[in-house]
Amino acid sequence: MDDGLQGRSNDFVNYARVYEETFTENIHSISDDPPIMVKEGKHLVFIKTAEDGESEDEPQVFDVTTSLVEGFGGHLGAIITYEDKSEREKLHKNVSKLKDLNTVEELAASAVHEIKNPIFSIRGFLRLLENSLTQDDKRREYTRIMIAELDRLSKLADDFLMLTKSQGKKGDYVFADRILMEVLKFFEPRFDLIGISCHFETGDEIAPVYIDADQLKQVFINIIQNAIDAMPAGGNIYVGVYSKNKDVIIEIKDEGSGIKKEDEGNIFKPFFTTKENGTGLGLFISKRIIRSYRGTIEFKSEEGHGATFIIKIPASSAVVE
């Protein structure tokens, strides 16, 4: 494709010149009176329909072919074909954009890797330093704070990486209840440690949903982690999964401190946190993930009386083994 043609205005003088430049291979006369000459060839022609040329409208792209029709010992005529390639061109551009996006994702992954290495070595040396202090040394408090801050930095890097991942693009037919069970198993030791009882309830037949399993897992981890953080003295967490109409609904309810009225409008905003070591990205990421698979995430809460998060994901009709 000759990029030099792109962006030319559609006035006829220029258009004719484009024609002259591109169809120069074979010249045939198809009529003597009036004399008509046809040049044989094939080329892509870009036609910008916007008048000012500054508009963001995509130019229309045509594949123009001329061919001669011969017979009775002479030329009968010419067929000029304009094939509209605009859609294909648009698709091609979208694919390139997607490739760029993957590069951003890869770049972010290596940047996070580079950030985590020094965090890891600093954290380890701090532990060694801490071990050299006596149990009643007040400086232990400093190392404790430094380690907690490093952990926050590391979590921030992980959350940031999650944000760069393309969402809604790839997925699989998965069962939300199975993923939830895995996540609860992962949290079991922590539940035991804090004194949290987790009650899991699931409907009879849970429809599959189309989503990226790892990302759904991340959503569950974020919400359950919040529930744990809201109940430092222990309590109950109720988790339920059921199918209703054309949705799969997941409810996660805790008995923690609840969400303050004034915070209600902010909890899904990036970098909003009420936790000492929070990154403020957990719920923001969760909402982005669920929305990208056409689902919703809502909450009900009363300060001092816990919070319930309700996730709805469209059920998939696909057959899953």
Partner: protein, 143 residues
């Protein structure tokens, strides 16, 4: 086992130094390698019991090094470490014979308790109480 010998493979100088310091202060014999090639060379000289390998080392990566070690010294225990907590990666590590996978930044206590469990198993293997090669423990991590 008298004293367990651990090989630390990580290209990041300060990460390697920190891990070597932390492990030797906990009573382990240690030595380090900055890449896969060096690790293979050192392994023949030092004969470690356990290898702690970073996944993203220059040249041959963690998985490739694991495959080499499996061929050359199947009785050695290996732990992979990475900043990546991707499930597929962890599953693959398990499948290929690693007996632990630690996500950086992990706490030294976590590493030490994993090493303690591994060295107990290695002791039992030395006494013939369990069978221990990278193949025999396929699919099961100690952690």
């Amino acid at each position: 086992m008298e004293r367990c010998k651990v090989m630390v493979v990580d290209d990041q100088l300060w990460v390697r130094t920190m891990l070597l310091e932390a492990l030797s202060s906990s009573g382990y014999l240690t030595f380090g390698a900055a890449n896969g090639r060096e690790a293979l060379r050192m392994m023949h000289m030092e004969k470690p019991d356990i290898a702690l390998i970073d996944m993203t080392i220059p040249g041959i990566d963690g998985f490739a090094l694991l495959a080499h070690l499996k061929d050359e010294k199947p009785e050695m225990a290996t732990i992979l470490m990475s900043g990546n907590s991707d499930e597929d990666c962890i599953r693959r590590a398990r499948k290929e014979g690693a007996c632990g996978y630690l996500v950086k930044p992990f706490d030294m206590e976590e590493l030490k308790s994993l090493l303690a469990r591994i060295s107990t198993t290695l002791d039992m293997a030395a006494r013939g109480e369990v069978r221990w090669t990278m193949d025999s423990r396929e699919g099961q991590m100690i952690s």
